[in-house]
């Protein structure tokens, strides 16, 4: 390799730096955390960065199952199905040396449920949290809640004394123009402490000497340098040139290049996120009816669309093999998922055309496909491909691809007839999907249902499963509900996304389905 003197000196300095901190992880992904206040933003990257430094009672291990964290065991109280009892881990200290106990849990849970908290939506079922001993708390829910522990995996624990002393008891209310100490400072129980942070540039963390899990987790790194890099090409370039050790969100087309580069590898896994199209199934099209009717309201038309979307071709070409074609809008990890439900029709344009003709649209109809261009993996390219496929059965589809800042308000306002959406299920339970995507839209339910789909029978079942404690009975209900949902085709499933993490060869990492990398699990060999 040719190098001039000046540059090689510079490089030597860089590599010397690397040698001095042999266990520094240089890590990048597209976005940065929005705040360090654990209850102020419910957003993936924010929670991920915080979870290096703070911890919940229960977390989800990269393999998917619930794992004791600050709570060691939990169970429903024998005589009262509305109360969960959590035994807390003893001997845990916060970064500033304070001891973790039940007082901190009550404080943190109350804070997470307070008015300005963005986490309150996840734990609306909680009525009260009370300490029943220094290392035991009871969580009372409004009615029985069989899946409560799964809802707690992103509720981080703060030290009561520290938070009070720094006037950060109320969650930062950005809307009111408030600034709090806790949005730029951290005192958690997690494996890493905050060293410095410049938003959108770099966050440095160092291993916490008194971490309770020192012997439990590999904890291979003594330092983490987290640098967001928005532009995908730059991110990949920085990995290829050896400036980084680990990146999330590798563009699918760059996987082979990374794999083919000496010293680098890619780990893949299915992501907890499905991508699909939502159709306006009401009587009126936003764009104006066709011959007085909305063709999408006709099940035959929706079946035709379902048949013409060639999911395998999208996987092979657009996604370069990095997707799992979907017959249902539920990622494979979720309670309720079965192989049969995920079956999808083989593409058949002749049958689709016949169905369209039967529905009275032998020559198709015009429709606009609304799509984000900066949200999901290759979102725009998928929509582009779909537009072509719709065209092959005579549906004159047009693509309207916009940034997420414009796209999501449009979807929320239901100003679209045909839109793309991706959905992850943090609770790993079907109820979460039904609640937000299938329930008739009202003040508190169906808030992401922009299809106008409304099925009173299904609505009643959605409310019923939320409180059903008999798990066998509950699963049977869920299976029945999915049968209805799959038949009604308010959503046309496309695929389940795959996650691709690229890293240095020596690193052993289990890809987390929620795209939540936690460095404490990383091992070096």
């Amino acid at each position: 390799m040719k190098r001039n003197l000046f540059l090689s000196t510079a490089l030597a300095v860089l590599s010397m730096g690397a040698a001095a901190h042999a266990e520094t992880l240089r890590w990048a992904l597209a976005g940065d955390a929005l705040t360090l206040d654990p209850h102020a933003q419910n957003e993936g990257v924010t929670i991920m960065l915080q979870s290096q430094m703070m911890e919940p009672l229960v977390s989800r291990a990269p393999t998917g199952e619930l794992e004791p964290t600050l709570a060691t065991e939990w169970a429903v109280k024998a005589d009262d199905p509305t109360v969960w009892v959590f035994k807390l881990r003893e001997g845990v200290t916060f970064h500033d040396g304070a001891t973790f106990d039940s007082e901190d849990v009550v404080f943190s849970m109350d804070r997470a449920r307070s008015e300005a908290s963005q986490m309150k939506g996840i734990i609306t079922s909680i009525a009260e949290v009370r300490a029943t001993g220094p290392y035991e708390v009871e969580i009372v829910t409004n009615g029985p809640n069989p899946i409560l522990p799964a809802a707690l995996t992103s509720i981080m624990m703060l030290d009561k004394g520290w938070t009070e002393a720094n006037n950060a008891v109320t969650v930062q209310n950005v809307a009111a123009g408030e600034v709090t100490f806790s949005s730029t400072n951290v005192n958690g129980t997690g494996p890493y402490t905050l060293v410095s942070r410049e938003a959108d540039s770099r966050t440095v963390m160092r291993a916490f000497d008194n971490y309770w899990g020192k012997d439990t987790f590999p904890l291979a790194y003594s330092e983490i340098i987290f640098t967001p890099i928005q532009n995908a090409s730059t991110r990949v370039a920085a990995l290829l040139s050896g400036e980084l050790d680990f990146i999330q969100d590798v563009p699918v087309q760059d996987i082979d290049r990374v794999k083919g580069t000496a010293g680098l590898k890619v780990e893949s896994s299915s992501e907890n996120r499905s991508v699909f199209f939502g159709l306006n199934v009401s009587d009126t099209l936003v764009a104006g009816n066709i011959d007085g009717k909305n063709p999408l309201a006709d099940l035959k038309v929706r079946q035709a669309i379902n048949m013409t979307i060639n999911r395998d071709a999208i996987r092979d070409v657009v996604m370069r093999g990095q997707s799992v074609p979907a017959g249902i809008i539920m990622p494979p990890f979720v309670n309720g998922w079965t192989e049969e439900l995920n079956a999808y029709p083989a593409p058949d344009n002749d049958a689709a055309k016949a169905l369209l003709a039967e529905a009275g649209y032998p020559n198709g109809f015009p429709i606009t496909v609304d799509c984000p261009n900066d949200r999901y993996i290759n979102d725009e390219a998928i929509c582009q491909a779909a537009v072509g496929m719709l065209g092959q059965i005579g549906i004159q589809a047009r693509l309207n691809a916009t940034s997420k800042a414009l796209f999501f308000p449009q979807v929320n306002a239901m100003e679209t007839d045909f839109y793309m959406l991706g959905w992850g299920v943090p609770s790993y339970d079907s109820e979460y999907i039904f609640n937000f995507l299938y329930h008739t839209r009202d003040e508190s339910f169906g808030s992401w249902n922009s299809t106008r789909y409304s099925n009173p029978e299904l609505d009643a079942q959605i409310k019923a499963i939320a409180a059903e404690v008999d798990l066998a009975k509950r699963d049977a209900m869920i299976a029945e509900m999915w049968a209805t949902a799959k038949n009604d085709l308010a959503y046309i499933p496309v695929h389940h996304q795959m996650l691709n993490w690229a890293m240095k060869d020596g690193l052993t990492v289990t890809v987390d389905p929620d795209n939540q990398a936690r460095v404490k699990y990383f091992a070096l060999n």
């Binding site: 760059d254 999208i314 606009t368 725009e380 582009q384 537009v387 072509g388 065209g391 309207n400 100003e415």
Partner: protein, 305 residues
Amino acid sequence: MIRQFSAFWQSDFGWKFRHSPTAILSALVTLILVGAAIFAPLIAPYNPFDSSSLNLMNGFSAPMAPNAFTGEVFLLGTDDQGRDVFSTILYGMRVSLFVGVLAVLFGLVLGVTLGLIAGYAGGRVDGFIMRVADIQLTFPAILVAMLIFGIAKGIIAPQYRDQMAIWVLIIAIGLSDWVPFARVVRGATMVEKNRDYVQAARLIGRKPVAIMVLHILPNVLNPILVIATISLALAIIAEATLSFLGVGAPPTQPSLGTLIRIGQTFLFSGEWWILLFPAATLLALALAVNSLGDWLRDALNPRLK
């Protein structure tokens, strides 16, 4: 036509042209590319704007190599949607030139009009227009584009939104483009309005504005031509930049800029043809137009004879 051409060829200007290899080459490249763009539907083997004619499985074919799935062969390969890159470039150049030319025309008309008004009226009107020019410079084209996008979204029915993107680009780029035109025309007008013929016209009751337009415009024709040529290259590049920021021509009817934006994501993956050919075309087009503008500036500058 032929006589006019030969008159041009024999003129002083024509002499300069004949003796500048750069000018001849630039003009030739520009002519070929513009011609290819105009006659794209006749030249291109496929219509890449017709999504329903595409076979996704043709995607990522290398130039002149049979596709792994379908066995089809494409001259310059295909992109991620299975579109023939050669056809896409021809059609894309059409979009780029359409946007560029109309944006420059829009900026030119706006700039010349405002420049005339500012220069002629003077005083507060002049101050106002020139301060508006300052404001204009403040707003990055991307913001102007998003603003117009937003407003248009409120006015235009959803089914026309994909066609609308092109017009939004034209207006957005044109709007960020008018200031140099206005400044040149304003300066010339300020000099010209105190000339005797304007005063005389006013005395005999003729509308001085009409006369001024007739007299001033020919005077500023040369600088306007130069600005317009360079603006055209800038407009084509600006469109590409807006594409990178996500507000360019729609991917189903891509411009060269959109093609480059899509192509650059394949820079590391080995599908070089998706980026290289559109980028080379854009470079050739912008370079030719720029050198032409450069040469025009020198050739038309009376002080450099």
